[in-house]
């Protein structure tokens, strides 16, 4: 992709207010200390008992703002997901989709996929997070575990270029089939395409004018 300064020629953080230095680096992914509080201790214990490879598969357990996040290695994602779904003490029968985040600064783990899970049986929530490098954007598909992930994974592929191995119809879903690029990535500019009218073409918003 060609270099683009973004809307109005803004560089770096794209802070349009003129008050520089407002952006901070992303939150670190260091593990939280026990006790986690709430039902989180019980939940992680139950998962550890149900899944002996817990320490190997879970890179970090983060509790933030009353929410539990398990950072999972992608090789183990499907096993962890199946255990979370099938173990009667955990029983996360619903996956509420897939949300991607692109962190270009986190070298070697640029692309994150976030899976919010819900257990209606126990009325609990947990979040799984997987990170993969930009150069090798492969994540195992969870459609076999939760069929409803089908479209969500297609959307994540469409928006971030993540390839979900094992997905049977990984095609674009929101953008046209012949679209170039993955719009939700941070290196993809807002706007970015010329607007076509009959008989005339207007340049992309990012190329119209530069306020610098």
């Amino acid at each position: 992709m060609t270099h683009d300064d973004g809307m109005f020629g803004v560089q770096g953080t794209g802070d349009t207010s003129g008050f520089g230095g407002l952006a901070k680096t992303g939150a670190s992914t260091g593990s939280s200390e026990r006790p986690y509080g709430s039902y989180f201790d019980e939940l992680t214990d139950d998962l550890e008992r149900a899944y002996p490879q817990f320490s190997e598969a879970i890179e970090a357990v983060v509790v933030y703002r009353g929410e539990l996040t398990l950072h999972v290695k992608r090789e183990k994602l499907e096993e962890v997901a199946r255990n979370l779904r099938d173990n009667p003490k955990l029983q996360f029968e619903m996956c509420l989709g897939v949300s991607g985040v692109h962190y270009p600064d986190q070298v070697g783990r640029e692309l994150h996929m976030v899976y919010p899970l819900l257990s209606m049986t126990h009325n609990r929530r947990v979040r799984l997070e997987v990170s993969v490098p930009d150069a090798d954007p492969h994540i195992p598909s969870l459609v076999e575990v939760w069929a409803g992930n089908n479209w969500h994974e297609r959307e994540a592929f469409d928006m971030f270029g993540i390839i979900f191995d094992g997905h049977l119809g990984l095609t674009r879903i929101l953008m046209p089939d012949d679209w170039v690029g993955h719009p939700q990535r941070k290196d993809y500019p807002l706007g970015g395409i010329p607007i076509e009218f009959q008989g005339a073409t207007f340049p992309a918003p990012s190329e119209r004018r530069s306020y610098q």
């Binding site: 802070d15 207010s17 407002l22 939150a27 949300s99 991607g100 976030v114 953008m175 939700q184």
Partner: protein, 444 residues
């Protein structure tokens, strides 16, 4: 046959393709009737009056039986999630309200709840603001269900429910206009509270509107509940049982019509829903008629909640509607003028004439916005269509790093294949109408 640009036939590797957008149907049926092939692939939409918006359905038919049904979506994709990353946290509300345009208040509330979680102020939201949020959400639930009945009935050939449904919707939109200055896409719920207070005189008007709506809901009820034509079109149609709902991640009326009493307002209360008396409506038929009955029942429950909200609003008259922290709260008291919502004149007088510091503060918080601590949060509300979940990520700056909406419409539309395959083509319409997808939410 002479060449017709609107109904021409071409040969492809997949077989013969007929484009029908006008012209003489009898020519076409003679032509198709001549072929031996029973299997026909029909492309329905995206510009079709019965597909509930710009939804494209690709149906494989054997005679009139649907053997495969697939959805084509994305025709309304406007990149709202991407746009929020280029505006402040408060401006984000203006974008997300345009996703599911029939349930704007739910989008706003879910988004604001996730921002408040990140700010760690979700327990400091003033009670009056919470009451207003609940009231606006329930009003919105009524107007959204009304469009579901109206357009759903229209798609099945019943025109009268539309007239009644839109009359009630109009009542709700008038209240929205009085409270927020806008009828749709109000950007009324803001991080920290709501944009402005509900005028005290509106409360009695809302009470009256509730009474009137309760009376008027009967019109559609007598028209549709137990109506033999309506039941023939919806009963046992679009069947999706509990197991199917679970694996497909279906929430909302579809799940409750399959017999699961799951409602986030009860199971994981937010905005003070635990303080209201209402019932979760369920059905056990798991079909389009059951979903219709669930929605019908929810109207009365919404009215009950709104009336309790009115009581609370009277008790809490004059209480703040925005968080006390001046570093987050919008600096001025907004007011509804003849041209919509804006800064109150009193505030303008103060910052322009009296206090330089107030002017600087106003300028900074409006142009630059507030900073939100780095991290991620997920907040969910029970929208008319199911769980609307918002995953928000902050990098510590004044603008979102990522906002992702888990739209129930997007998720639930996946059930189209499970509901329609094996049924008749006419029932596809009833099934899709019972999912009640809003394409603005599906495509975002």
């Amino acid at each position: 046959m002479t060449f017709d640009p609107y109904a021409s036939a071409t040969e492809t590797t997949e077989g013969r393709v007929y484009s029908v957008t006008g012209g003489d149907w009898s020519d076409l049926s003679t032509e198709i009737g001549a072929t031996k092939e029973e299997r026909v692939v029909v492309n329905m939409g995206p510009q079709h009056p019965s597909t509930h918006g710009v939804l494209r359905l690709i149906l494989e038919l054997e005679g009139e039986t649907v053997t495969e049904a697939r959805c084509g979506i994305g025709y309304l994709h406007t990149g709202i999630e991407k746009n929020t990353e280029y505006r402040t946290w408060t401006q984000g509300v203006t974008y997300v309200t345009r996703m599911d345009y029939l349930a704007p208040i739910f989008n706003e509330t879910a988004y604001c709840m996730s921002v408040e979680k990140l700010l760690d102020i979700h327990e400091q939201i003033p009670e009056r603001a919470q009451v207003i949020r609940v009231m606006m959400m329930e009003l919105n639930r009524i107007s959204s269900h009304m469009v579901c009945f109206g357009t759903g009935g229209l798609e099945l050939g019943a025109i009268t429910p539309m007239f009644f449904a839109f009359r009630e919707r109009e009542t709700v939109l008038d209240i929205f206009e009085e409270v927020s200055g806008l009828r749709m896409n109000m950007a009324y719920i803001r991080p920290g509270g709501v944009a402005q207070d509900v005028p005290q005189e509106s409360v009695s008007r809302i009470r009256e509107a509730c009474k009137e709506m309760r009376k008027n809901f009967k019109d559609n009820e007598t028209l549709l509940v137990g109506n033999s034509i309506w039941m023939k079109r919806t009963k046992d149609i679009g069947y999706l049982d509990l197991a199917g709902c679970m694996t497909l991640g279906i929430t909302g009326p579809i799940l409750r019509a399959a017999g699961m009493p799951w409602d986030l307002r009860k199971s994981q209360p937010y905005s003070g829903y635990e303080n209201y008396n209402f019932d979760v409506i369920t059905a056990d038929t798991a079909d389009a008629y059951g979903r219709f009955l669930v929605r019908m029942g929810e109207l009365e429950q919404s009215l009950r909640i709104i009336e309790q909200c009115c009581d609370n609003l009277e008790k809490l008259a004059g209480a703040p509607v925005m968080v006390a922290d001046k570093k987050i709260a919008w600096p001025s008291q907004m007011s509804v003028g003849p041209d919509g919502m804006g800064n109150s004149l009193e505030h303008i007088r103060k910052i322009m004439g009296e206090s330089m510091e107030a002017l600087i503060h106003h300028f900074k918080i409006v142009t630059e916005g507030f900073r939100v601590p780095a991290g991620q949060a997920y907040a969910a509300v029970e929208s008319p269509r199911g769980e609307t979940g918002v995953h928000t990520v902050s990098d510590g700056g004044t603008r979102p790093y990522r906002v992702h909406f888990r739209e129930p419409s997007f998720n639930n539309l996946q059930a189209t294949a499970a509901m329609c395959e094996g049924g008749m083509i006419a029932d596809v319409i009833a099934s899709v109408a019972s999912i009640d997808p809003v394409m603005g939410g599906v495509d975002r």
